[in-house]
């Protein structure tokens, strides 16, 4: 398989690079100075693309690779892949579901706790020496708070299970109601936001869910409400969110993703009711290795004509 060209579109994991190099002819797209020239030269040997949450395979790239057979994403999100185009051309697509569910859900709860209990601010308070002058102020209890989840897929359910251990009543919004689920369903996001204390975005990014968190939802969540985003930056109308936080119309936010990563609105840097993370939802040694193994496993299966491990298309 060493002659099979695999194009990795951006750096994502050195173990994955190393393992792909052992098995295939790996092209590191980000190291190429003249991308169009490179593609013109190598297009006939590239049979696979490996992408992630930052970059995948859009229509333009797919068109330029006539021998492309499979896109393997180092992520569960598929928003950087033109799925319709892949279907049209019979290109297989795989992602990394399940192995990262726990980590993302853990982080969502970690963000809720950090925002409500002002943990990062407390740590800053100690490090600055301010504790010698007096106690830090009161924060908000997490146990028992109403948690509203947008998207009750694998990650949403995992968040619910954890929040329940803190006696949090769970409600959700989903494209369709799930009758077998005991949590309270709201048919609209605004209604969900109006009826919870903490709103979590855990759905996939599609045309329908773009800016699903807009001004109306933010207003409904209100000055005591907290938004947690472990989905995708574009789920949130970011300028609206920023002004709501700066103007204290929204109680707080825990954000792992942003519209234009790695750019983060600087107006948020000084706010004590905001926790900002650099897209680390699946960022553990254990999970990234499991994700990498899935990418490799899917590519090997494809080129050995075996069933794919985690196909999407």
């Amino acid at each position: 398989m060493e002659s099979i060209g695999v194009l990795m579109v951006c750096p994502m994991n050195s173990y994955l690079e190393h393992e792909l190099e052992k098995r295939f002819n790996l092209f590191r797209f980000w190291t190429v100075p003249e991308k169009s020239a490179f593609l013109a030269t190598n297009k006939n040997s590239i049979r696979a693309v490996v992408g992630n949450s930052s970059a995948g395979a859009d229509a333009e790239l797919i068109e330029v690779l006539p021998k492309l057979e499979i896109v393997a994403s180092f992520s569960v999100g598929l928003d950087k892949i033109d799925l319709a185009k892949c279907k049209e051309k019979g290109i297989r697509v795989t992602n990394t579901p399940d192995v990262l569910t726990d980590d993302v859900a853990d982080l969502a709860i970690g963000l809720m706790l950090a925002v409500l209990r002002k943990l990062c601010e407390s740590d800053r308070y100690v490090r600055s020496g301010k504790w010698k002058k007096g106690d830090y102020r009161l924060t908000t209890k997490f146990t028992g708070k109403k948690v509203g989840i947008i998207g009750l897929g694998r990650i949403g359910m995992a968040v619910a299970k954890r929040a329940e251990a803190f006696s949090c009543p769970i409600s959700y919004y989903s494209r369709t109601e799930k009758p077998e689920i005991k949590y309270k369903y709201y048919p609209g996001v605004v209604e969900l936001a109006a009826n919870c204390d903490i709103l979590v975005v855990a759905c996939s990014l599609t045309e329908e869910t773009l800016h699903i968190i807009n001004r109306e939802v933010i207003d409904a969540l209100g000055p005591k409400g907290v938004l947690i985003n472990v989905g995708r930056g574009p789920h949130v109308d970011e300028p609206e969110l920023v002004s709501a936080l700066v103007e204290r119309r929204l109680g707080g936010a825990g954000l792992d993703v942003f519209e234009h990563e790695p750019e983060v609105p600087e107006e948020l840097f000084g706010l004590d009711n905001v926790v900002l993370l650099p897209h680390v939802g699946s960022g553990t040694v254990e999970t990234r290795q499991a994700m990498a193994d899935l990418v490799i496993g899917n590519l090997e299966a494809h080129f050995l004509n075996r069933p794919l491990l985690t196909p999407v298309v």
Binding site: L113, L119, D123, D135, P262, P278, V285
Partner: protein
């Protein structure tokens, strides 16, 4: 110390509750916080007199003390108050009260009961996730504008599947266990005695518990037995990949040894709400990204303080009405702390 208010004569008949130092709730929310029509406060801290003189001059008929962690009730204080019958404390811990002297004198102690257990357990989980997933460190990274220039943040460690060892499986420890089980952690514990009807594996000594877990959580009381319980041996048993979380009392840990282990990378990290000499914190910790620190505020929420208000007022009003206390401590059960 003048009478409270001459225009409300009935107030002058109200029994006194002595306060040696203002509890955190007074400082944060004002000293009307525990107001009641059934008692009034005698504030020793507002007097220029040294404490012993103050007690002799003004506290000879006082029956109750409202104590907090920073306002210890020592044998000396107790001996200067011949009519003392009740100590109510706002703190979870009892280590600042001379329980032996109380037992000897038949003085009843009313604790915070379980009002703080949920918040404490929430703080444990918050600290543990923060240490493993580098939440505070990554928040600093982003807010310093480093994400664009420095690129991807170092990977953390998965919480799911970690073996959690709880030292002290009381109300707080049990709430911690319940929460962490939902994250896929396995629970084991060490306690003074094995708990009947508890299916978590029990370890008779803390060193063995540490050797068999990935995250050691301190949830026990500070007593003579637990002073420096977490020492070099235990930390060594916990090991390079181990994490320690302390929301109990600073002196339960040998702080010098902990700092050395953290600086030299002998354990993975620590989440600390308490320290041996609060509010002083060892400076060496400030340079470390694998340590998360909070200023002893694991129970400092609006909700807990409101619950505290109801409990303290409830206990004091019950006492002065000769009704049963809400949260009396069974003193025979309490191990000694010589302070």
């Amino acid at each position: 110390m003048a009478p409270e208010n001459p225009s409300h004569p009935s107030e002058n008949d109200l029994p006194y509750v002595l306060i040696l130092k203002p509890p955190p709730s007074f400082v944060i929310l004002g000293d009307h916080f525990f107001n009641s029509t059934k008692f009034r406060f005698l504030k020793a801290y507002e007097s220029p007199l040294p404490l012993a003189h103050f007690l002799l001059a003004h506290a000879q008929s006082v029956q109750a003390i409202l104590s907090s962690g920073g306002a210890p009730v020592t044998a000396d204080t107790i001996r200067l108050m011949p009519l003392l019958r009740l100590v109510v404390t706002t703190s979870q811990g009892l280590n600042h009260i001379d329980l032996s002297e109380c037992r000897r004198r038949g003085i009843v102690v009313a604790s915070a009961g379980t009002i703080y257990s949920a918040d404490c357990a929430d703080s444990v989980v918050a600290l543990l996730i923060d240490v493993l997933r580098k939440v505070s460190a990554a928040d600093r990274f982003v807010k310093q504008g480093l994400w664009s220039s420095q690129g991807e943040y170092p990977l953390g460690s998965k919480l799911g599947g970690k073996r959690v060892g709880i030292v002290g499986l009381g109300s707080i420890g049990s709430e911690v266990a319940k929460r962490l089980e939902a994250f896929g952690c396995s629970i084991s514990y060490n306690s003074r005695k094995k708990k009947p009807f508890c299916s978590y594996p029990f370890y008779l000594n803390v060193r063995e518990l540490a050797a068999n877990c990935d995250a050691l959580i301190i949830c026990c009381a500070l007593t003579d037995e637990t002073h420096h319980l977490i020492n070099k041996e235990v930390l060594s048993a916990l090991g390079k990949d181990g994490v320690i979380i302390n929301i109990a009392r600073g002196p339960i840990m040998d702080e010098k040894e902990l700092v050395r282990c953290l600086v030299e990378g002998e354990i993975r990290g620590a989440g600390l709400d308490v320290f041996e000499h609060e509010p002083d914190v060892p400076n060496e910790l400030f340079a470390l990204d694998n340590v998360v620190m909070s200023p002893h505020n694991a129970v400092f929420t609006w909700e807990s303080f409101e619950d505290l208000r109801k409990l303290v007022v409830g206990n004091l009003e019950a006492f002065f009405s000769n009704e049963p206390l809400l949260t009396p401590v069974v003193l025979d059960d309490q191990p000694h702390f010589s302070g």
